[in-house]
């Protein structure tokens, strides 16, 4: 990650604000910032699929929820070492992602959206049927895990742990999308037919990125189980999948930092507006439409322009009308 230039300074400023501000404003804001970081991580996992591979998934919450259930259950069973619980949650989520991905990635476009949604709904109803685990009501997690000798009961400590993990995940994703593997998945986003024509079978590459994204969503879910000390099927709901997508789109797909900013904006917007009205969606909807129609590249793009940073030449932003066309006609120009 380049830490020089205005872009780097902007990133450092954001990081500094994330480190200093929430604890300064107190427990409520620390918890709020924790929530942003967790949802930001989940949104980032969608960005790997949406922004970098061109896969629109409507089921990422299922993997988030699987991570949350895995972590919550382990903790209830008395395993409270985060270094055990969290990797387990990640592994389970990746396994589930492997299953879902192996089947759903055989479809494209609209079908892929619907199949991922269907799998998410299956996962949701499966969680709901777990009577011993509270069914529809979910279950409370007795305590947070501890990270080696470090207790995570304190909100500030937990927040910093989540923040460090978020930075690590973002750095890892940053590395992946620039690697040889990253070039293949971005090639698939741009032109899957061409990727096959030069000799890459697209399917295994899509499956691997789907599993990586599933692992990241699972880690976010495990953190959420710790944060809220409560797990329910709502963590797998299609509404959450939709909200995560909205965060990515708000913040700017295809930038990694964008989804995190999108999560911050979304949660702050909801928090403020729901003080006034329970129909906050009524205001959020038009905002989302305005973002897609008027702002080329989301919150991150606006920030960059405000800071005087030109668009990175190698990262044209995802153009939504064009993306929609691709969904409608997943293989443009395919020969008869």
């Amino acid at each position: 990650m380049t830490l020089f230039g205005r872009r780097g300074i902007l990133l450092l400023l954001l990081l500094a604000a994330a480190i200093v501000l929430p604890p300064y404003f107190g427990t409520y804001y620390t918890r709020f910032a924790t929530q942003i970081a967790i949802y930001g991580m989940a949104a980032l996992s969608i960005d790997l699929l949406l922004g970098y591979t061109g896969l629109i998934t409507f089921g990422q919450a299922a993997l988030f929820g699987v991570g949350a259930y895995a972590a919550g259950m382990l903790t209830v069973y008395g395993v409270t070492e985060a270094l055990v619980v969290w990797p387990c949650a990640v592994a389970v989520s990746m396994l589930v992602a492997l299953g879902i991905g192996a089947l759903s990635l055989r479809t494209r476009g609209f079908q892929f959206i619907m199949v991922t949604l269907a799998f998410a709904q299956m996962t949701y109803y499966f969680a709901q049927s777990l009577r011993n685990w509270g069914g529809d009501d979910g279950f409370t997690v007795p305590q947070r895990d501890h990270l080696g000798p470090l207790s995570l009961a304190d909100h500030t400590t937990f927040y910093y742990v989540v923040l460090v993990l978020l930075v690590l995940v973002a750095a890892l994703a940053h590395r992946i999308v620039r690697s040889q593997f990253g070039m293949v998945i971005r090639g698939i986003r741009d032109n899957e037919r061409r990727v096959a024509a030069i000799g890459f079978p697209p399917y295994p590459y899509k499956l691997v990125v789907f599993v990586i994204a599933g692992g990241i969503a699972g880690l976010a879910g495990a953190l959420m189980a710790n944060h809220a000390k409560f797990v329910s099927p709502a963590t797998m709901s299609w509404q959450l999948s939709g909200e995560l997508l909205a965060m990515v789109i708000l913040g700017s797909a295809n930038s990694l930092i964008g989804p995190i900013l999108g999560a911050a904006f979304f949660l702050a917007f909801r928090d403020v507006l729901s003080d006034f009205t329970e129909h906050w969606m009524l205001f959020f909807g038009p905002l989302l439409v305005a973002r897609v129609l008027l702002v080329k590249d989301g919150i991150w793009g606006m920030l960059l322009r405000a800071a005087g940073v030109a668009d990175r030449p190698d990262e044209p932003k995802v153009d939504y009308p064009e993306a929609a066309e691709r969904i409608a006609d997943p293989e443009p120009g395919a020969s008869r």
């Binding site: 620039r178 040889q180 593997f181 070039m183 061409r194």
Partner: protein
């Protein structure tokens, strides 16, 4: 090993009642430049689709380099050395010109499940990509975003990507399509420089290019090969004159 690199054997493909490929048998010799011509709607695109594996034939067999490839995927065929360029420009729009070629170079490695090193810093991808860009006349445009390049440059880039996969054979689907006069001249010079280094199946409407470059020519009409031979044989073939060359005037070929 036979003298033929690509053998198409009784290949057929129908869409409903339309027999787009009707019992096509064709063999391409190693090292030759073989042109496939035919009026619009003759089934050239369908044939290309079957050769690359994007379409499954109803009947028949395709073998490449002594191996039956009829059931292989597009990617597998590409890895065996069958490279193609597309009639309608098909590149990675958000990549730089060099990035486009570098990804094609990357495809010559056994796999790309390499997650750590930034691709743009890998010399064994970057250097061949630079050299290939130079070969196709795009040396100075390596950092240009592909979507911001001209149509003519896209055609050159297409060819560069096909060459980057280190193919045995090039399947060039109308490389001259939509080019202006200057660009056409540059592209035909480029094709002439490639001729002989690879086995080429050239599908092209530009008869000047076809007759000057091709060692042999086959004529596809209504899904069938009606003639195959040298340029002179094709020029003087009565059936071809009627079915194809005679129509050229009123069909306004580009």
């Amino acid at each position: 090993m036979s003298e033929f690199l690509l053998e198409i054997d009784h290949l057929s493909k129908a869409f409903g009642a339309l027999r787009a490929t009707d019992d096509v048998t064709l063999a391409i010799r190693k090292g030759e430049t073989h042109a496939l011509i035919g009026p619009n709607g003759a089934g050239k695109t369908t044939l290309v689709g079957q050769l690359t594996g994007e379409l499954k034939p109803d009947a028949g067999r395709i073998s490449f380099d002594g191996r039956d490839i009829t059931a292989l995927s597009t990617a597998r065929r590409a890895r065996l050395g069958l490279a193609r360029s597309f009639q309608i420009t098909s590149i990675f729009d958000s990549f730089t010109a060099q990035g486009n070629v570098a990804l094609a170079v990357q495809a010559t490695e056994p796999h790309s499940f390499r997650f750590w090193r930034p691709a743009e810093r890998i010399a064994k991808l970057r250097q061949p990509a630079r050299r290939l860009l130079d070969d196709v006349g795009l040396a100075r445009l390596g950092d240009r975003i592909a979507s911001k390049m001209s149509h003519g440059q896209h055609r050159q880039l297409e060819l560069g990507m096909a060459l980057a996969t280190r193919p045995l054979m090039l399947l060039l689907d109308e490389p001259m399509a939509g080019l202006g006069i200057e660009e056409s001249r540059a592209m035909s010079a480029l094709l002439a420089s490639v001729k002989g280094r690879y086995t080429i199946l050239l599908i092209e409407h530009d008869m000047d290019v076809v007759f000057s470059l091709a060692d042999r020519i086959s004529v596809l009409v209504g899904g069938r090969i009606i003639a195959s031979g040298t340029a002179d044989e094709i020029r003087n073939h009565p059936g071809v004159r009627v079915a194809y060359l005679g129509e050229e005037d009123d069909e306004a070929q580009c």
